[in-house]
């Protein structure tokens, strides 16, 4: 029986999950390509650890994983490809807003700590 996808939490995504969704956007990418892009961004993980991370994101409903098969010289080869789901994009937007709003406020000089007296 397939497991029901876990509903993503309301809190922001961890940095690596955020990076993965940012890398993938609306594209379908293989695990190897994602890993290489992550490495280029300075987020290096071992192969097994990276795929475990992808599997966790699939379990959380942020990614969709699928096998892509092709035949070459009588041999069947397979490749795992991933795609960001709608929930993944929502979680990405939410995380971006979470960090962006205080950053914009800080840049404009309107940021407050919440401790000063309110008018």
């Amino acid at each position: 029986m397939p497991q029901a996808p876990i509903r993503p939490k309301r809190e922001p995504l961890p940095h690596l999950q955020f990076l993965i969704i940012a890398i993938m956007g609306h594209r379908k990418m293989s695990g190897r390509d994602i890993r290489e892009a992550m490495k280029a961004q300075g987020a290096h993980k071992t192969k097994a650890a990276a795929y475990q991370l992808f599997a966790r994101m699939v379990d959380a409903g942020l990614l969709e994983g699928d096998w892509e098969e092709w035949l070459e010289d009588g041999e069947t080869y397979r490749r795992k490809v991933f795609k960001v789901t709608g929930q993944g994009h929502l979680a990405y937007d939410r995380t971006r807003d979470f960090y962006e709003k205080p950053l914009v406020a800080f840049a404009r000089g309107t940021a407050h700590s919440g401790l000063e007296a309110r008018p």
Partner: protein, 280 residues
């Protein structure tokens, strides 16, 4: 149906190659475990004959002397040096400690003490040397044997006699490894196997197949197969590491560790108080 033949009786395909000969000589010289048949003979050594056209990059006598004879000779020299050094040391200590007459009277005790203390020194020196040399010379020996294979022209009868190791490695195909690796992966828990092991294994397999197309020579294919196998083993170990992390350190057991620590704190308090009282 033909009966199975003993390697000694078998025609050429099972004739020991120079690789198996050198390996058998090395094992015979360095390892305590005997690699012999019931009749006390080692077919890998005794049925070896140099194939016609077999050329060694380093002369065979030099390889043999460096890997088998020299360590034996130097090892025995060290053994005796250890013995004599130990005897001399203890003799000096005794003469320094007491009158020479007492030394003569206590000669049996002195001999016993010398044996007791000198023998371990000698044996320790001997076995350390042998082990170190054996470990150090194994890769060199295999390289020397591989150089023999590569120096023989491919396709000839002589090459077939001397290159079984490389041929066997070069004939490894992705399909053959897949079966073994997937059986090996069966030991991993299903989640790790499906999520981590299989996708990466497929990547490695794809790489291996692509490179196999590009490089056709026997040596290159053997090297590729060796690298592929090594990468599969590393992947397998990495998956085991992840499994261990997930099982013992990861979120599912974090609560367990916390509870254990919380449970231990009340037990530790009396000991801490007792320690403080003692310090006062």
């Amino acid at each position: 149906m033909s009966a199975a033949l003993h390697p000694k009786q078998h025609p050429s395909p099972l004739r020991p190659s120079c690789v198996s000969w050198l390996l058998a000589e090395w094992a015979d010289a360095h390892l305590i475990v005997p690699f012999e048949d019931d009749d006390g003979t080692n077919p890998a050594i005794e049925s070896y004959q140099a194939a016609p056209g077999e050329r060694w990059l380093v002369p065979k006598r030099v390889v043999y002397a460096l890997t088998v004879t020299a360590p034996q000779v130097i090892g025995f020299a060290l053994l005796w040096l250890g013995f004599l050094g130990g005897f001399g040391y203890w003799a000096y200590q005794m003469v320094q400690a007491m009158h020479w007459l007492i030394v003569v009277l206590l000669l049996p005790v002195w001999l016993y003490l010398c044996l007791l203390f000198a023998a371990p020194v000698g044996f320790a020196a001997y076995f350390t040397w042998r082990l170190a040399w054996a470990v150090a010379t194994l890769p060199a020996m295999l390289l020397a044997a591989a150089a023999v294979d590569l120096s023989v022209s491919g396709g000839s009868l002589a090459a077939r006699h001397t290159s079984r190791g490389i041929d066997a490695l070069a004939s490894i195909t992705p399909r053959k490894v897949e079966r073994v690796a997937k059986l090996l992966a069966f030991l991993l828990p299903p989640s790790i196997r499906a999520d981590s092991f299989l996708p990466i294994f497929e990547e490695l397999r794809e790489d291996f197949a692509q490179y196999r197309k590009r490089y056709m020579t026997r040596g290159a294919r053997a090297w590729l197969a060796g690298c592929f196998l090594a990468r599969v083993v590393v992947l397998y170990l990495d998956c085991l590491r992840l499994w261990g992390l997930e099982k013992w350190v990861g979120p599912p057991t974090a609560k367990l560790w916390t509870r254990l620590l919380r449970g231990l704190v009340p037990l530790l308090i009396p000991y801490l108080l007792a320690a403080l009282a003692m310090l006062r």
